[in-house]
Amino acid sequence: MQQRREKEMVRGEAEAVVACSDKSMKIGATMWDLETGEKLLHIPTCASPPFGFLCLRNRFLVASQINKHGSIGDGAILVWPFNKPQQPLLNYTVEAVGPLCCTNDGIYLVGGALSGIAYLWNVTNGKLLKTWRAHNKSLNCMAFSDDDSFLISSSVDGTICVWSMISLLDIEETTSSPPSLHCLSGHTSSITGLLTIPNSILVSSSLDGTCKVWDFIYGRLVQTQVYLFAITSITLHQRERLLFCGMENGTIIVNKLDIGLKEGPSMGTVAQPLELKGQNGAISALTCSRACLISASEDCTIYIWDIFNWEVIHRFNLQKGKVTNLVIVSRSALVSASKYETVSNKYYVSPLDKYPQLINSFKGTTTLLSLCPLHKGNQTCIDLRSSDLSRQKISSSQKADVPMSMTIQMKVETSIKNHVLATNMAEHVTVINKQLQSQLLNFIQHRLLCPNIINTHKTRRKKLKIQSLVREEKNLKP
């Protein structure tokens, strides 16, 4: 008994799961306690596409939103601090952003757009550091390597690209399409999941019914697992290397991920693996906590499985919405957030820039840094100091009145566009001016040169005259 109690003590923090759907804003995101099944939190107005929902440093929930009305066409990224989930920070993006991904330290956030362009922000100062075309087709999934030094992106056409963060962010590299480290091709259909494991291993799943294991630094295919059905979602129990594949038909297949292979691609066929059945629709999201597997399906149900005896512990229902995202958060974030504001704020999320800095010229770049080491900070804060504009955004979004703030945003946007236009015009005019000036100068030079010739003639004559005069004087003197 006492042993058990000791184990209870070292068990660690209680976990909770957050689920959201992309169907409509009304459904929102809901958080449940994993152990008790208690509903902890409900965030209205959240609808994010697959992989568009994540937890930033266990302090913020970040979700990308695709506006389905089509009237504005822009997307948005919302940030909710755990301690004030009623006051999200609304950031607008140039185009609709689908998948999101952040580094482990929560400093960089990447969003992938439907156009195949990727956006990279520094979250602490909100700067849009890089915009580049990552894929030709729509981006649908992204992941960082375990040490955050590589970014892996995938597209609906089945291609996977590996980017080195260092070369991507190299400020002297200003091209809009930096070369990727590798382009992994092999999947024939849309990618449905990317998982990175230490030692540069990447697991990808696709609708073509295969799961491939790659060594992404060398760009090598290590293993292929073939399944009967399209894989709609994968997750991994990191410690035990158990790979869970969610299928189109609602079953989940449990595999041991064995990457002992040193060389050469190999083909594995599936022979009677463990299958977890229960859900009806295609598995739309999977995630793993320490002791549970959480699966969500298109039939709006969320099952929590015990990974020891494969029993369902809890069943949840997200009201009438296909679950697109499941995120595990630790409950302590909620608890510590409620007794807040004793320590000064250490970790910031600034409003994300919509555009890269207009006065670009990387020369003047300064980087933001909170000098207090980040890991010490356990308080959260959204940095509102950056501009009045953002404050406006926030005050409007406080009322959860998104269209209102959108119109403001639109106004701002048009004014920014006008501004850009004006500056362009001004530049144009100055160019014209310069050309005119140079022409004028040429003209004047021409004009001046000709009289000069005459002048020199004149002066010569004058000189001659003077000389003759001098001579006369000399002649007179003696």
């Binding site: 963060m165 962010l169 630094i217 595999n255 292979l261 040193k262 060389e263 207090c372």
Partner: protein
């Protein structure tokens, strides 16, 4: 106090006031008695601190009498101090002030809160009156700062205490400006720093005057290096007193402007204009008014005039000090987030590092050789401090530095190639190390080649002496080669059968060249540490061609470090106080790096594990040293690698409702799932023979070890197991494809490897291994004869084979870095039985294979089931 009024023991409360009183009586100078001996005072202090005589802390149950006694003793202590302070004799006054400081630190909270204002009043006059001698003023500053440190612990009385602090600032500044003794400056700066950190806002009104006072001292020269550092530290702390982003940035910009000015003067004619222009452009933003120079315009002009006259030396020391200030600003904590002009700082670093004292053609006529000499003599210090600044930037910024990482890489790689002085190289190594540790594999991709080239140059100056061992470490080894030439060469030797050749290696099978240390030890340590960092983060770069070179280098260096005799301790020229590095440190660094190189092998067996283990064992013998401590730790860590524990899939903390038995059976399903008997048959790719140990152990679980134990005991149980399982195995396996056979063969292989480990650990004598090797030849031929369907014999036989081949394996294995290949071939040999034909890829076993093949052909065929019989994998149940 009666003569025989004994107390209980040394912890007794009654003892403390007694001791305090007698100390006052005996050790403290009096009004009348002259101040005898300052060393008395230190004795007194140590007694007070050990017995905490001033703490007045006692349990509730303490008799009132003792409490009173202590109180009165304390009162008399204070009285004595007050009387000392009020004397005019400087040294008595000094003693009084110092003891008051001690009292501030030591007394109880109640006492402190009660009387701090009185003490403050006592101390303040000494700061204000200029008449007193330096000694007294220094002591007053120190005691005052003790007082403030203590005060900052009581936030309740913040208002009072900050008003006290405000009163102090002005006299302290005056002291800093007027006095001309460095000791006083030191004390004053210390006091200022205390006030800034404890009561930042009290100094706000004097911000400008503090800044100019410090700047004046900093720039006017004439201070010692230590003093300069303290001043720079104080300057770096100063923005805290305002605590906003603006003042931090302004201070940073002021310092950088000043550095820029000084560099412009110093580097005139030594650098290209473009660099200078770039820094200037970054420094002064267009359209933004630059802040006033540090310490105001007047001072700046003065300094400029002065600087043009003074020598380069003071210029350089100023720049180094200011850069130290930058470093402090980066690394000290700051209450709000700030904008760090990273780009500018990096440009500055680059600017300094690019100047190496060579004169461009055009400025040759404008500079004398003497001037060049002056500059060059000071350049190393400047380079060092700029590298330190770079390290500070990397540490402070962490992953936010990513946008500039490529730029830093360019600076570092460029500089690494050119720098030569050991002390500077050490710093560059540390920069590289920090970069690797902060940025991970991505950085390793960029930096690996440069680090390795340099580390090889620094670590293997031995290789030029006798070019045997480290051939593989040639810097320009072809990148595509799967194995470095050195390995191939040695493997070749071993396959030629001249096994005696290995004896040269001192029983360890590796030739160790005679060492003659040319590079300083501290440099070698730095190189090793950087390699360690590289291997740590770049575990993923396993098939990089440099990897095997690094591994062989590390084992050689580690073995070398054990051979070195007592090496004289080395002193660094920049820190003369203690020896920078000893041979033991080198040994420790080498073993550390070695351990990391073993552990980072994700999927292959570390090639030099046996030798490494031997080294760690030897290190463990040196009990009581740091080395032994580390070696113990290393052996513990490696134990998991040698004998991997197939840990259960999940920790049972959660599986409370599970009985252990169930879980266990679950486990076995898991591990032996590939026989398709269980629903857990996880899809399994055909096993690769070069596969790592761990994975296989994981597959085979503990059973392999168990069966091994049984085997070595020569008990019939395992074979009985075989019999028990036989039908089943046959049923399932007869129809299996060749793949399956190969799988089982691998499992046998695993067993052999386990035996091999045992032997590796025991036999270090190559001679012994040779004998066993010869034995093994005969044994191998025995195998087919053993086909008597007597399972016991078969089993034993196999055991002999595996055991006896191993020493040979070990020998070749050490050399080749691919030791498992031998076993692999052996595994194939089993397989060949069933097919009657084989070609062994490795020449080592060619002769066995031949015999094997012959015997096989003589045999009746039908060997397949027998082999399966002998297959240890079927021992499992």
């Amino acid at each position: 106090m009666a003569v025989f009024d004994h107390f209980e023991n040394m912890y007794d409360v009654a003892f403390k006031p007694r001791l305090l009183l007698s100390l006052i009586r005996d050790h403290l100078p009096d009004d009348s008695t002259p101040f005898s001996n300052p060393s008395n005072l230190s004795n007194l202090l140590s007694l007070i601190k050990t017995h905490s005589l001033l703490s007045e802390s006692f349990a509730q149950s303490t008799p009132h009498k003792h409490a009173q006694a202590w109180k009165s003793a304390f009162a008399s202590w204070l009285d004595r101090i007050y009387s000392l302070i009020s004397t005019t004799v400087p040294d008595k006054c000094w003693a009084g002030i110092s003891l008051l400081g001690v009292t501030c630190e030591e007394c109880s909270s109640e006492r402190f809160l009660e009387s701090y204002s009185l003490w403050f009043q006592k101390l303040l006059p000494f700061l204000q009156s200029p008449a007193d001698c330096h000694l007294v003023r220094v002591a007053a500053c120190a005691s005052m700062s003790d007082l403030f440190v203590r005060l900052s612990g009581y936030p309740k009385i913040k208002k009072d205490s900050s008003s006290c602090a405000v009163k102090v600032v002005q006299p302290t500044l005056k002291m800093l400006n007027d006095e001309n003794s460095e000791a006083v400056w030191d004390a004053a700066v210390h006091l200022l720093c205390t006030i800034i950190t404890s009561f930042p806002f009290s100094i706000r009104n004097h911000y400008e005057s503090v800044e100019s006072a410090i700047a004046l001292k900093l720039l006017s020269g004439g201070c010692s290096l230590d003093m300069l550092k303290k001043l720079a530290h104080c300057l770096a702390l100063l923005p805290k007193s305002k605590g906003d982003e603006e003042s931090w940035s302004v201070m940073m910009q002021k310092i950088l402007m000043l550095i820029n000015d000084q560099l412009n003067l110093a580097f005139h004619g030594l650098e290209e204009e473009t660099m200078r222009n770039m820094v200037t452009r970054l420094l002064f933003w267009p359209g933004k008014h630059p802040p006033s120079p540090l310490g105001g315009y007047v001072l700046a002009d003065e300094v400029r005039n002065k600087a043009s006259n003074t020598s380069e030396q003071s210029l350089m020391s100023n720049v180094s000090t200011l850069m130290f200030g930058c470093r402090m600003m980066l690394t000290n904590s700051y209450p709000v987030k700030v904008n760090v002009p990273v780009r500018l700082l990096l440009a500055l670093v680059e600017r300094i590092l690019m100047v190496n004292g060579s004169l461009p053609q055009m400025s040759l006529p404008f500079m004398t050789a003497k001037q060049q000499e002056n500059i060059c003599s000071e350049l190393p210090v400047l380079h060092l401090s700029s590298l330190e600044l770079l390290t500070a930037i990397i540490k402070a910024m962490g992953s936010q530095l990513l946008p500039h990482a490529a730029y830093i890489v360019r600076i570092v790689t460029k500089y690494f190639k050119t720098c030569e002085l050991p002390d500077i190289r050490i710093k560059v190594y540390s920069v590289a190390k920090n970069l690797l540790l902060t940025m991970g594999v991505g950085m390793a991709l960029y930096l690996a080649q440069e680090v390795i080239n340099n580390a090889f140059a620094d670590l293997s100056n031995i290789e030029h002496k006798n070019g045997g061992m480290l051939n593989g470490s040639n810097l320009n080894a072809s990148a595509g080669a799967p194995l470095p030439p050195g390995h191939r060469k040695r493997k070749h030797i071993s396959t030629n059968g001249s096994l005696q050749a290995h004896d040269e290696g001192g029983g360890l099978g590796v030739e160790v060249p005679k060492n003659c240390p040319l590079t300083p030890i501290s440099l070698r340590i730095a190189a090793l540490e950087t390699l360690e960092a590289l291997v740590t983060v770049a575990g993923a770069l396993k098939s990089e061609p440099w990897r095997s070179k690094v591994d062989s280098l590390l084992i050689v260096v580690a073995m070398d470090s054990f051979k070195e005799g007592p090496v004289s301790e080395e002193t660094s020229m920049f820190q003369q106080k203690e020896p920078a590095a000893t041979a033991t440190d080198l040994q420790l660094a080498a073993l550390r790096a070695l351990l990391v190189s073993f552990l980072s092998f994700a999927r292959v067996r570390p090639p030099y594990l046996a030798q490494g283990l031997e080294l760690f064992r030897r290190g463990k013998q040196q009990t009581g040293t740091k080395l032994a401590e580390f070696c113990l730790h290393a052996l513990l860590t490696l134990e998991v690698l040698i004998h991997p524990r197939a840990l259960p899939l999940v920790d049972y903390a959660y599986a409370n409702n599970h009985s252990f038995g169930e879980a266990n059976s679950n486990l076995q399903h898991e591990y032996f799932g590939r026989n398709d008997h269980t629903p857990y048959g996880f899809p399994q790719a055909p096993p690769d023979y070069d596969d790592d140990l761990c994975a296989r152990w994981f597959e085979n679980g503990n059973e392999a070890d168990v069966s091994l134990a049984k085997n070595t005991k020569h008990t019939p149980e395992p074979s009985e197991d075989c019999i028990a399982n036989d039908p089943e195995v046959l049923d399932s396996n007869l129809l299996e494809r060749a793949e399956m056979v190969s799988e089982t063969a691998t499992c046998a292989d695993v067993e052999m490897k386990t035996v091999e480990d045992e032997i590796n650990l025991k036999s270090d004598q190559p001679g012994e291994s040779v004998v066993q090797f010869q034995e093994s030849v005969s044994c191998t031929t025995n195998i087919p004869e053993a086909k008597t369907h007597s399972d016991v014999a078969d089993d034993n036989n196999e055991k002999i084979v595996s055991e006896s081949t191993l020493p040979h394996n070990e020998a070749s294995h050490m050399e080749s870095g691919q030791g498992s290949s031998v076993n692999k071939d052996f595994g194939l040999a089993f397989q060949s039985n069933s097919f009657g034909q084989r070609t062994s890829g490795s020449s080592i076993l060619e002769e066995f294979a031949l015999k094997f093949g012959q015997d096989n052909s003589l045999d009746d065929g039908d060997s397949f089931p027998d082999i399966v019989d002998g297959d240890p994998d079927s021992n499992s149940d």
